[in-house]
């Protein structure tokens, strides 16, 4: 099965941040999961389905098997709360997820690069 997932990535989740008595947000300690995945660019239709402002961004899709204790993925563009995927030292935010675990034993997710969109 590992040949289907040739890439190595790290999923980072932050759950349950708190605020101190002065109302300042304190991020929760991140929980990290090492995953084997297949990291690919989006095809044309998938890219076209993105919101208009994100079509020109560095967006990709990943196929991976979900680690047992991974919480449901939190998508979004808020880096304080959205789950992130680190691949080759670049941080991506999860945009969309599809869970095919019941029938096909994998998850599919679209990710968008968090910073430095112009870098190659």
């Amino acid at each position: 099965m590992s040949s289907c997932f040739p890439h190595t990535g790290i999923i980072t989740q932050r759950r349950g941040g708190t605020r101190n008595s002065d109302g300042e947000y304190i991020q929760a300690t991140p929980v990290q999961f090492n995953i084997q995945m297949s990291f690919q660019p989006l095809n044309g239709i998938e890219r076209n389905n993105l919101p208009e402002g994100q079509r020109k961004s560095d967006t990709n899709k990943v196929y991976f098997q979900k680690p047992g204790d991974l919480s449901p993925l939190q998508i979004g563009t808020n880096s304080a709360t959205a789950d992130t995927l680190t691949f080759n030292g670049i941080v991506y935010l999860f945009l969309q997820t599809q869970n095919w675990e019941i029938c096909a034993k994998f998850m599919k997710a679209a990710v968008i690069r968090q910073n430095n969109q112009d870098d190659v």
């Binding site: 101190n20 008595s21 109302g23 300042e24 808020n78």
Partner: protein
Amino acid sequence: MTFNFLQNEIDRNVRRYVASGSGLSGEVVIPGNDNAPAPNGSYASVLLINKINDGLAGNVNTTAANDTVDVATVEVINYNYLVQFYRSNGGDDVQDLAERLRIFYRTPAGELRLQELGLGLFGWSDVDLNDETIDSEFERRASITLTFRQALIDTNNVAAIKSVPIDLVIQEDF
């Protein structure tokens, strides 16, 4: 060059004042511009929206040791803080919270709190009602702007001029 306070400290003290004045707990009086999820239930946000500097700064000179002078440059600044209240949780309405905050400065507890925090309340706006439609339901919102006045003091130590010798030479033969 030393400043007598930092902006973050004023922001924090204003949030503490808002928490005391409105009766909300400190955890739910949040900065108005932080990238973090909003608290559950009723909460307030505090954001500095502008600083007004009226007039020229003044200098206060004080004689210091070793033939030097301490020059304190004093500038008075008005800080306008926008305080927004979100969601009523069955108990107090957002308008009640804003009104309670507005009148707090005059209560004995409020006067003491201002003194503790080193703040000078200088003015306040009307209470505005800004209800928003969220998921086809109204969410109660109210806002008020509080104006605090602070003196920004920048102290410098400079050498003093104790005396200036002047030699007067009169030339008569041109």
